[in-house]
């Protein structure tokens, strides 16, 4: 165990030098960016920032899609000459009653793999919908996979819109990723106040232009209230134009009223449609509706042919800016719910780094002194191994560009405390071997050999915990799992390669002297 081939030594020491290099560059501020300028990322809890978990509210999407599906279903049934009655939508379920046609007739059409209302997903081996028929009462609802497909689709759309909105705000290096079927995880480092982002993500920003109906209670119109107060207007359900036709929206100060407004430009199709609608309806009111609330309902004085216009409401310049931003980035397919928020201010992050560093330094010193006290000269070997261990650990974290969190720092300190265990196991074993062995070299050799199984067992158990924690833990706790797990690897390396080599050098020099441990 005490013999090292040249090749082995070269491998060991070049690994150490390689990782030490990456460890050290963390502490040197280099402005140049090259492939070498890697560094450990600080987690949100250390650099400050916001973490948001959003969930797509799928109920409105399901309803919307089922509404559309009803239209298709009507066509489908008509085309295939199936008579029905009482077709309605209730609790995300389409219900209707078959009149003359039999259950089998309907099922044959509905489960035909080439039908266009109930597509068959080959990859899931499932239809989009499941149906049940009882006494000619048909119930149709989304199948499990139909729902998954729908959620994935709306999640992808939402993700894109969320990304655009956050990019427009211009926060530095945001992380925006999908989580599961219906969630979006957002990390905004350095953001002190997530309020604005939360507001921007809290609206679908579905903009429509619709005529105000003169007469109340007409079929095809609905009563909507104003955003700023509870006044209500009867609004036609027919949409003249929607936000999709906007190509630009900007906040502006209106010259006359000196109020903040949002000015917008339609695309070509939108301009034409709007020109047509306004020229036909001079003297009537056009309501501008955002997320089912009326923002304003100006009277059309003349046909608007330019394809440009402005929205005035009770805006501050900030709210006009935000609305313009939302209109530019497009509407979300469904409302997003914030289901988790964690925000850390930058000064707390700084305090945490300071506290973490101080406790690391103190813990490290205490362990080093204790090992010197316990093992004297061998203590130096253990301490050097510990220093190398820490350097390697930081080097590894740097190469992987791992995220260091406050629990992660705790993991490093804990590694310091537990890492010496490997050396303790070995030294204690050597001490025992010396009771029966006369040769120092044999005692050392046996000590390393016989302690090996205990060292491995002891470290693997902690590694198991770290791995489970890594996969099931979230956020900062994951950082703990990373440092603890990598710490075990560096511990084994530094004790069994580096420490053992130092021991062999030491024992070669003192092979005939009485060594006291």
């Amino acid at each position: 165990m005490l013999y090292f081939s040249k090749l082995k030594l070269i491998t060991i020491y070049s690994t150490i030098i390689f990782l030490s290099f990456f460890s050290i560059i963390n502490f040197i501020n280099t402005k140049e960016s090259s492939f070498l300028s890697k560094s450990i990322n600080l987690g949100l809890d250390l650099q400050g920032g916001s973490y948001l978990l959003l969930e797509v509210d799928s109920i409105p999407i399901i309803n919307q899609n089922l509404q559309q599906k009803i239209l298709n279903l009507r066509k489908f049934l008509k085309k295939n000459k199936i008579k029905y009655e009482n077709l309605n939508l209730n609790n995300q379920t389409i219900n209707f009653q078959l009149k003359d046609s039999s259950q089998e007739e309907f099922e044959e059409l509905f489960l035909n793999k080439k039908n266009n209302v109930n597509p068959y997903f080959v990859k899931y081996k499932s239809y989009e919908f499941i149906h049940s028929i009882k006494n000619k009462n048909v119930k149709i609802e989304y199948s499990k996979y139909g729902l998954i497909e729908l959620k994935i689709l709306s999640l992808d759309q939402s993700l894109e819109i969320v990304r655009r909105r956050i990019d427009e705000v211009g926060t530095n290096e945001p992380t925006i990723i999908k989580r599961g079927n219906d969630r979006i995880l957002i990390e905004l480092p350095g953001l002190e106040d997530p309020n604005r982002i939360k507001k921007l993500l809290g609206r679908t920003a579905n903009l429509t232009f619709r005529l105000v109906s003169e007469t109340e209670g007409v079929f095809g119109s609905e009563l909507l209230s104003f955003e700023k107060n509870d006044d209500k207007l009867n609004i036609s359900k027919r949409i003249i134009l929607s936000g999709e036709n906007l190509i630009n929206a900007q906040p502006k100060l209106d010259n006359q009223s000196n109020q903040a407004v949002v000015s917008f430009t339609f695309d070509r199709v939108g301009s034409k449609k709007f020109a047509k609608a306004t020229s036909k309806n001079v003297g009537r009111r056009v309501a501008i509706i955002l997320d089912n609330k009326i923002i304003s309902a100006p009277v059309v004085r003349e046909a608007i042919l330019s394809g440009q216009g402005q929205i005035s409401g009770d805006f501050t310049f900030q709210s006009a800016t935000d609305l313009a931003l939302m209109l530019r980035s497009g509407a979300l397919p469904a409302p997003l719910k914030i289901i988790e928020e964690r925000t850390v201010g930058p000064d707390l992050g700084e305090d945490s780094i300071k506290a973490g560093t101080i406790s690391l330094a103190i813990g490290f010193l205490l362990v080093i002194i204790y090992m010197l006290y316990k093992y004297r000269k061998l203590g130096i070997i253990a301490d050097l191994s510990l220093i190398i261990n820490l350097t390697l650990l930081i080097g590894l974290l740097t190469i992987f560009e791992a995220t260091l969190t406050l629990p992660g720092i705790a993991g490093i300190i804990l590694t310091v405390g537990m890492a010496v265990d490997a050396n303790v196991l070995i030294f204690e074993r050597i001490k025992e071997e010396m009771l029966t062995e006369n040769s120092n070299i044999h005692a050392f050799d046996n000590g390393y050999k016989r302690a090996q199984s205990a060292v491995l067992d002891a470290n693997i158990t902690t590694l198991i915990s770290a791995i489970i924690l890594f996969f099931l833990g979230s956020g900062p706790v994951k950082g703990f799992a990373v440092t603890l797990g990598l710490g075990i690897l560096t511990t084994l390396f530094s004790a069994y390669f580096f420490g053992r080599h130092l021991s062999s050098l030491y024992i070669m020099k003192n092979k005939d002297r009485k060594i006291k441990i």
Partner: protein, 306 residues
Amino acid sequence: MTLPSLKNIKFTNFYIKLNTFSLFMIFLSIMIIFFKGLNLGVDFKGGTLIEIRAENSSISIAEIRQSLIKMELGNVNVKKFGKENDYLVKIDLSNTNDPNFIQSINNKLSSDLGSAVNFRRVENVGPKVSNELLKDGLLAIVLALAAMLFYIWIRFEWQFSLAAIAAIIHDVIITVGMFSFLSYEVNLSIVAAVLTIVGYSMNDTVVIFDRIRENLKKYTKIDISEISNISTNQTLSRTLITSVTTLLALFSIYLFGGAILKGFSFAMIIGVIVGTYSSIFVATPILNYTKVNSKTVLKEENNKTA
């Protein structure tokens, strides 16, 4: 017969007494957890946690509480946290979806206290997420126990596996019981601590077991209780030194690592102490009770070579 050993303590003499004590502690812990419950943090219960730094040093906890109670936010809990003027506020209500929720609390507090308050940290967890986090946390602990059971079962005989798991469960129950008794908050970092304790306690136990197995093979004529004594003595100084270095690191986190890591390091300190105790006085005795002998480990050897 004298064997090469540095110390000679008769651990077996304490087994009955200390096992009774352990059983009593487990029973007590379960009772406390059952009747007193755990002080679950917002991670697991949902709600809002705000770390506040007030600029005005003359405000009191009562004032903060008064101001918050007026907002009708459900149960409100205010306590000092770390430095002077730092407070930790916990509110039952989470309102994660209202973008103005946190802002309105800040405005109200600032105006009621007559000085600006700085929200240093906000954690706002909705009920759905907190349920999932709780489930994941429990799952992680159960998985860790199962993984350990499996690992020891592969490496040793079933008696060792049983003994090690009993020791770990002993440690976890007593640590959690301690948290219940002291009403310390249980949050995500405590789950991390418990998992690390599981790993540490296992580590400690395995080292002794390793030696017991080695000695059983070496001295086939010696009874398990004597083997236990010899092995525990042989590994005793390692057990103690490693516990001391780990505790040194942990105390350093506890004292200097800031208020956020206090709960975590406290749990770990309890866990390391209990874990060290349990590998000597819970895990090893069970090997005695299950009548492990050299045949047990030699049979294993034969199976492996076969």
